[in-house]
Subunit: 265 residues, 2 copies
């Protein structure tokens, strides 16, 4: 029978944290004095809080830890740790790619004094109308993979053949990483049906972005600057053509994307 202070000193978890765990139901004291609310812990409970601390070191969230404690199963514990390992490994890989990008930027700063000087060549084109098969949804940026997967499944089911690059159209003027009105699609030879339509944006300006999907914003900026300089205004939702993307087995740094704005003077 240990008071909360004694228990805290032994398990090296702060009193505040112990009270919080009690409050959220993650870890309750062995006995609570009904009169004054004092919490009392048993020595065997040290094992349990030790496990919690260990899992916290392993970057599990408290709900995840609660799930593990509820199962109380060695198999499940091992599986959870393994999947968390993969999560951490992915995070390390991402951080390493950030490190590489930082290194390149430092070199660029030392050469040019700034790193925001990507040179985009903006051109205009009048797009011929195309027949496209599309899926339009409210979705987040992270759902692109699933959306293109569903699109391809739909193509297969209706026997349509793609004859051009994949594309997406951003129908929301405003951008929201979590939830935007996005249409993903691909040009098809012919055919009709619910998800097949004509796409005729007319006069557009566009630029080619080479690199990963997460820094398109530079290219959008270049296009906006160009439009302002030339006196054009946007006349429709922007769209992207994935000339060389993740389906072509190249590194993200070699992806090629064309970004278009329909325009009018």
């Amino acid at each position: 029978m240990l008071t909360i202070g004694e228990f805290s000193g032994i398990c090296r978890v702060s009193v505040k944290t112990l009270r919080y765990y009690d409050q959220i139901g993650l870890f309750k004291p062995g006995r609570v004095n009904g009169e004054n609310g004092y919490r009392y812990y048993e020595v065997p409970q040290l094992r349990e809080i030790l496990l919690i601390s260990r899992l916290k070191q392993y970057r599990f969230s408290l709900p995840e830890i609660a799930a593990i404690l509820a199962k109380n199963d060695a198999e499940y514990l091992a599986a959870s740790i393994r999947s968390k390992q993969e999560e951490i490994a992915r995070e390390i890989a991402e951080q390493q790619s950030v490190l590489r990008a930082m290194k390149q930027d430092i070199e660029k700063i030392e050469r040019c004094g700034t790193f925001m000087n990507e040179a985009y060549t903006v051109k205009t084109v009048t797009m011929q109308p195309k027949t496209i098969c599309t899926l339009r949804r409210k979705m987040g940026i992270k759902d692109f993979g699933a959306a293109f997967g569903d699109l391809c499944a739909g193509l297969g089911k209706r026997g349509l053949k793609p004859c051009g690059p994949f594309l997406s159209i951003y129908h929301d003027e405003e951008f929201d990483r979590e939830c935007s009105d996005i249409e993903v699609g691909v040009e098809v030879d012919s055919g009709s049906g619910e998800h097949v339509r004509t796409f005729a944006p007319g006069l557009c300006c566009f630029a080619t972005h080479i690199g990963p999907y997460d820094d398109f914003s530079q290219c959008y900026t270049a296009l906006a600057e160009w439009m302002e300089g030339e006196g054009y205004t946007v006349s429709g939702p922007p769209f992207e053509l994935y000339i060389k993307g993740c389906e072509s087995n190249v590194l993200p740094s070699a992806y090629v994307t064309e970004i278009y704005f329909p325009i009018t003077r």
Copy 2:
């Protein structure tokens, strides 16, 4: 002159985020309509928000980004990125050590069904009184390095020679990672003065922990279990002797620490 929605769509930053940046003063619209509060952004501002987004990719906090924007200096920018690189590299190293620990634990689970079974041998000893030179402070766990640094500086100034391992005494019963009443010290041959005193904990139980400093709690648990089993109670603040620590140029996994509780029946 772009509305917040148009600007958001081009720079790929959500409207909510733009309003938040305005609120905290990180990035303000070029013009605000005084009557209705509408925000309007200029095309040249795209460069600035692009820089902000880039720095956010690089894991800078918003105050850090604000500092960089305020300086507006390529030297400072490069230096900031370099120091953030080191920070990320350290974090990767830590995550990799977590991965290694997880791997060991998985193996242990597969062998034994659990990983909480460190075997500590608990012994008793009656400590002879020692003369120690100490520093006692309210400090956090992270301040140990600084505290031992100050201790050594004080030793040097008063011409005292250490003749035993470093130690620390936890005067707060309760544990608080951020702020505890901790005394760090070392045994000295002789001498007197403000920071020199006799340390006589008397009868103690102790166990030896091999490994990094951040999982002492297993050892504390083992000691508490032993005391309960043998019918002893704690009679003073616990202390740790750093038999082989960070000063001896070995890996954290080879650190040797003895953890003591003064006890009485």
